[in-house]
């Protein structure tokens, strides 16, 4: 059974960063790989996926989703986060130009707002970021941009502050987050691990007094288990860790899933997420804040 270090070696040796279903490198898995390696102190290894993201960056500063698909560009958010975390860890400004261009693009683009509707529970007038151009703002891309921009020292920008308001607004009344809707035609929707974990990561460290945040943490603690799929387990652990908590058996469960071949071999995307979630909590906080590791 491979040790954590051996899993890290595998991630460090990767030359392609893929989802399970993709044959080509994609931006999101590369960004998570860079963040996971930095979080485990493997900073030089993290430079490789970060450099690949820099090569993928387009003239306007955005980073498309994969080497063949320049659109959509929500992955720009995670590239900013990876570059900023790496530069902070190395105490250098290697990616500063990439970050600046990506930030300009990010602040110039936004999801579409819509007039309030009694049929929809969330505040449709709040502006965050969308998955694809000219569509509504959604929870996960908004959280990714909040994380990226805050790590790159833009946490006070009005767009980031509105993004945080949007994320809080999208939490479900009893805690947890759906993919983005809260109540539709009077019916509250289902919470899910992944969006809840991502939302909580983005809200960590903010001075917020909303009971749904605590309820969301409770939801993750209540619902997480060792049999969960890699991404959901990882984001659940990351969401709790971001708020300086720890799921008691987290590392044991993460290692179990790292070694579990039932679902077939892990893609770099899942490997990176599991390893990031298994990183020491203090390092996760430093990465989220953009501080030196």
């Amino acid at each position: 059974m491979p040790s954590l270090a051996e899993h890290l070696d595998r991630l460090a040796a990767a030359t392609h960063w893929t989802y399970r279903a993709s044959a080509q490198s994609c931006s999101e898995p590369a960004a998570w790989a860079a963040l996971a390696l930095v979080a485990h102190g493997r900073v030089d290894d993290g430079a490789r996926p970060a450099k690949w993201l820099a090569e993928l960056q387009q003239r306007d500063g955005s980073v498309g989703i994969s080497e063949s698909e320049s659109e959509p560009r929500w992955s720009t958010s995670l590239a900013i986060w990876a570059w900023a975390a790496l530069d902070a860890a190395r105490r250098e400004r290697r990616f500063v130009g990439n970050i600046e261009r990506a930030v300009v693009w990010s602040l110039a683009h936004h999801g579409e707002a819509a007039p309030r509707s009694p049929q929809i529970g969330h505040n449709t007038e709040l502006v965050g970021w969308s998955w694809a151009a000219e569509t509504h703002s959604w929870l996960e891309p908004t959280a990714f941009f909040v994380l990226g921009l805050r790590t790159a020292s833009h946490g006070d920008h009005p767009r980031v502050r509105e993004g945080i308001r949007l994320i809080v607004d999208r939490l479900l009344p009893d805690g947890g987050a759906n993919y983005g809707n809260t109540i539709v035609l009077g019916q509250p929707l289902l919470p899910h691990m992944q969006p809840t974990g991502i939302a909580l990561m983005a809200l960590a460290g903010e001075q917020l007094d909303d009971p749904r945040i605590e309820k969301s943490l409770d939801y993750l603690h209540r619902s997480v288990n060792s049999k969960m799929a890699p991404a959901s387990l990882s984001f659940a652990c990351l969401g709790v860790s971001a708020h300086r908590g720890r799921i008691a058996a987290a590392n044991e469960w993460l290692l179990t899933v790292l070694d579990d071949a039932t679902r077939g071999p892990l893609a770099e995307y899942e490997l990176a997420l599991l390893l990031l979630a298994a990183a020491p909590v203090e390092r996760l906080h430093q990465i989220t804040a953009g501080a030196a590791v």
Binding site: Y19, R20, A21, S22, A23, Q24, C26, I65, S66, S68, E69, E71, P72, E112, S130, W131, A132, E134, T135, H136, W138, E140, N178, Y179, G180, V184, L185, Q187, L189, L190, H192, M193, Q194, P195, K227, M228, A229, P230, A231, S232, T262, R263
Partner: protein, 341 residues
Amino acid sequence: MEDSHMRSDGGVTRRSMLLAGGAVAGIAGLVGIKRALRPHASVFTARGQRYDADLTKTIQDGLTACGLNPAELRGKRVLLKPNLVEPSKAIPHMTTHPAVIVAAADVFRGYGADVTVGEAPGHVRDTLMALDESGVGEALRDGGIRFADLNYEEVAWRPNLGRRSKLEGLYLPRSVVEADLVVSMPKLKTHHWVGVTASMKNLYGVLPGIKYGWPKNVLHHNGIPETVVDIAATLPRTMAIVDGIDCMEGDGPIMGSCKHMGLILVGSNLAAVDSTVARIMGIEPSRVCYLALAANRLGPVDEGLIEERGEAWRSVKSPFHLLDQEHLQRLRADRGGSLFS
């Protein structure tokens, strides 16, 4: 001067009557010809079905009744597309039951086809979690059936053959582009925006989230009915096998209640299948916006153009509860009563 056809009092002259009569006869003839040229399709309905019984015989009977020649599928790639939109162990009637998927896979493998099950869950990014929660992942592993995560596969652009929305083309995942036959395998459900979701709306789930988002908001912004028709028109050859055993009524497609119907429907024309589904649910199909758009373009919606095989829809009809919303209540075939929740 009096018009040769129109009297000054607004009446119609004899000559006009004759001309008009000729025109009416001509129009009637054209309508007759046009009607004869409209697509006809067969829809097979089986009642008394159960998840713990052998469903392969039912599906085989349905495919045969709808004119499928098994020999033509030998060596062909068949993609089975269930509905795993937002699976939850607590709401099993939201998603296509694993037993129906495995039975269909067995049937097509028995015909010598190369079978893949593929889905791009519309609301959840963690596809493995969707497979776990729905029970489909375990069933596919046990059955040795390949799964394609359509949310993250490489994509290819194809021109929009439906042209109902303003989208010039659609990005389709590799497994969809390469398929010889795409079998839509929806759960029979109400839908809180469009009334009914079955084989056509289920095809939203072949488009990749990585291009269209979670939810696939690009489609919403281009019109749900229009894009439902566009996708169905742009895909390779399609068929439908509907899980109508434990269905969803009320606040579908996610939060509704379970309604047991015990049905399996099979058809080679998605518009015909969905129209029949709607009738069974007590919904007038011509009032369902995407079926109205699809009528006589993608297939027949008129009852007279659909050949019923197996059970007649009237014999299994059981109206579904719809939310008490005007946009839904207007879809009901029979006004009155208390068919809302």
